[in-house]
Symmetry: C2
Subunit: 219 residues, 2 copies
DNA sequence: TTTTATTTTTAGACAAAACTAAAAATTTTT
DNA sequence: AAAAATTTTTAGTTTTGTCTAAAAATAAAA
């Protein structure tokens, strides 16, 4: 599917806010996109009609599987261009963002895959942020304690922090293993514990455990 | 000055048509831009207000010095990106145009100059078309008989076809020498002779002479 | 639980760039 | 030079994405 530049900017911003703050409200989006709340309502209505996001008023937006896939594609383009600018054209690493904001909207898949190959399939951009691969997967595992998402973003467990018998015992008991699909449902500020959905059931895991479970995103 | 994508496409098309056919009418432009004549009237009004072109109804459009400068900048971007796509990303030479149509609208001067340097300041794009330098000059000399422009595009004589005594005598008599500024004013279909303005006066030169006078554009 | 404050949406307007249909201007043909 | 054909412009719409101002919905505070 093809999107307008504006639609792409919305998808990207929602994705980033979802990662950073979990909750994405109309006002929050308005602030990051430097637009008025009324404009946000208009555009998100459109994205909702296209099934790119879900929305519950006074609660927040979150991207659908489709929307997340699109966002990751845009982020991939952005970060690959940043890598190109810094590595090949010798831009300063802190000087690439603005130009990449324009380049990211050029959507030719062939172009991006060739650029990726030309750069040697880099895993990180010049700021150290991970570059999604051509299937939208971010290779770099991330601690679920750091993905501060409240909503249904599906992840796959790909690594655990250490091999201590105690950790493995706990993981076994909770039925969490490499390849398990899970999504973070709720975060509790009090003790930073998480409620996650795994194997069709909701379970709670402590912050300490969360710090030792690494996940990657589904495309 | 910054232009919208649409304005840039108009400037570019007018430039190319001016080169190829001399005369650029509303309908001609409509055909090449795949737009309706009414749309052309609207946009050219805008470009005229911005002093990027001149226009006489039923005669044609031609770019002002400003407009030509802008067009050459866009063409420079387009051709540099084409060179990049073909040389570095290994695109087929006949497969680069469409993507370059998008890339050409990214206007960062720094980006383009760095890209130029990275490619080693190429003089031609993969189709063999000359790439304007960062001052808007096209290095490749062109025969004035081939620049089929009817209007005031200022050129500078930079080379003559051969050094025969007869040719040099004629050039001397007409006061045409390397560095002379001239512009083609009129073309006669009958014998392909040209009326050109040089040293503040109008003179006529034969097709045979025109074939042996090479010019480059002023920026 | 009522009032107050905040958040979100609606309604209506605007600018850009395109369109259609019709009118006007100019050129070409007879 | 009048009629016919062509070219160009005008007038009015449409779409996209934004805006302002006001209304409505919800959450927070008293």
């Amino acid at each position: 599917m093809k999107f307008t530049n504006s639609e792409e900017n919305y998808l990207k911003s929602i994705f980033h806010l979802q990662m950073q703050q979990g909750n994405v409200s109309t006002n929050t989006l308005a602030a990051t996109l430097k637009a008025k709340p009324a404009s946000i309502t208009d555009m998100t209505k459109k994205l909702n009609a296209k099934k790119l996001l879900h929305y519950k008023p006074y609660y927040g937006f979150y991207l659908s599987t489709e929307g997340r896939k699109a966002a990751l594609e845009i982020i991939r383009r952005h970060r690959l261009w940043e890598a190109f600018l810094a590595e090949k054209l010798e831009f300063q690493w802190d000087d690439v963002h603005e130009i990449a904001e324009e380049l990211e909207h050029i959507s030719s898949k062939k172009l991006i895959d060739k650029l990726d190959a030309y750069l040697g399939f880099p895993k990180f951009d010049p700021h150290g942020d991970p570059i999604p691969d051509n299937k939208g997967k971010i290779k770099e595992p991330r601690k679920i304690s750091l993905l501060q998402m409240q909503t249904d973003v599906p992840c796959i467990v790909c690594q655990v922090g250490n091999d201590s018998a105690e950790l493995l015992e706990l993981l076994k008991h909770k039925k969490i293993s490499i390849g398990s699909k899970l999504s973070v449902k709720k975060r509790f500020e009090y003790d930073h514990s998480l409620e996650i959905k795994i194997n069709q059931s909701l379970i709670t895991i402590s912050n300490q455990l969360a710090k030792n479970v690494f996940v990657t995103y589904e495309s």
